[in-house]
């Protein structure tokens, strides 16, 4: 599965399981520097959990999930 903040590009190139991290950024899909450190870590833990769950999702075509 692919984690990105540019899901349209990922869809165009045919990635099938895509997670868009809303709080992430193009430069760092697993980071949100606007938060204090502890809060950013908690957010990343949840985003990563979601990324792993996406691996278990049945899909038939490029599909975007969000966290």
């Amino acid at each position: 599965m692919l984690v990105t903040c540019l899901p349209d590009v990922a869809k165009d190139v045919g990635a099938n399981r895509i997670l868009k991290t809303r709080a992430g950024h193009f430069h760092h899909p697993f980071g949100d520097p606007s938060r204090p450190e502890a809060s950013e870590r908690r957010w990343r833990l949840e985003a990563t959990k979601k990324a792993l769950e996406v691996l278990t999702e049945p899909v038939t075509e490029p599909t975007v999930f969000e966290y």
Binding site: T4, A15, H28, F30, L55
Partner: protein, 353 residues
Amino acid sequence: MPTNKKIRVVHYVNQFFAGVGGEEKGDHPLTFREGPVGPGLLLQRLLGAEGEVAGTLFCGDNAYAADPGAEAAALDHIERLAPDLLVAGPAFNAGRYGLACARLCLAVKAGGKTAAVTGMYPENPGVSACRRQVHIVPTGDTAGGMGEALPKIVRLGLKLARGEELGPAQEEGYLPRGVRYNAFAEVPAAQRAVDMVLKKVRGEPFTSEFTFLGFDRVAPPAPLKGLKGKKIAVVTEAGMVPPGNPDRIPGSRASTHHWNKYSFGGRTELPKGSFICIHGGFNTVFVNEDPDRMLALDALKQLEREGVFEKLHEEFLSTCGNGGPVHVMKQVGQAMAKEARAAGVEGVVLPAT
């Protein structure tokens, strides 16, 4: 080469088109016959006085795919026959046949003595195997398209064999190879672009000057049945490398060898300086401050400890996708997939920028 010279042609078909049998004869070894065989009879008729089918090579598709000796034998025959042109197929939408045609055309072209032309359905896997190097006439998906395909193949093949200059792919009737030639235009680019936009908004037909080769569609792999007991790896195209970038992975336009596996070194999080980002296409300050913003090692290690999944692969695989040509990145991806599979990885998290 003078245009009045009779073009000497060798034709390659599979055993089915040579009349030897169907799928059950897929392991038929490479065989040579003098003169035209099967669709070669039509090929000869279309060539008329301009060319001669000197001989036909045929082989079962499985044999061609599995036995390197088949291709070597085909090349020996071609060397001996010294043709001006190899015509392979057409293979329509037969995948293994298409791949055999692609491989033989590539090998013959690489020899530099003989021109090569083939015909395939645009979605035949043989197309992506050789479209950048070999001229492929698009055909229908079944052998019902033979009568339509062969005249186009003959026309293009004769031009290639005579070394004549070819026009654009659309005009000559072959699949675009992604090659652009310089040409003088009467109207400047800005004006052509505006004309195109106006036609587009008016809903009128227009032809783009840039043909995009497009991307593959890959069938999604089956979902993991739960995460318990699974081995997970991190793969990235974000240009994450050890400090000093020992493999000199470039910040843009990587080549096929510009990727590697890097150990997390037993860490449970990534302090500043543990890995650096050499991506040349964005501001790397935030990820260099905290590499977990890309690789999420802290989160993955915690989830591993909690037993959400079994094991995080101790190495991550990395390249830099910035400006990477699609056909290069495809090879990098395939090599990475092979590596991950060999390491027993069942799921990959791929942070991409």
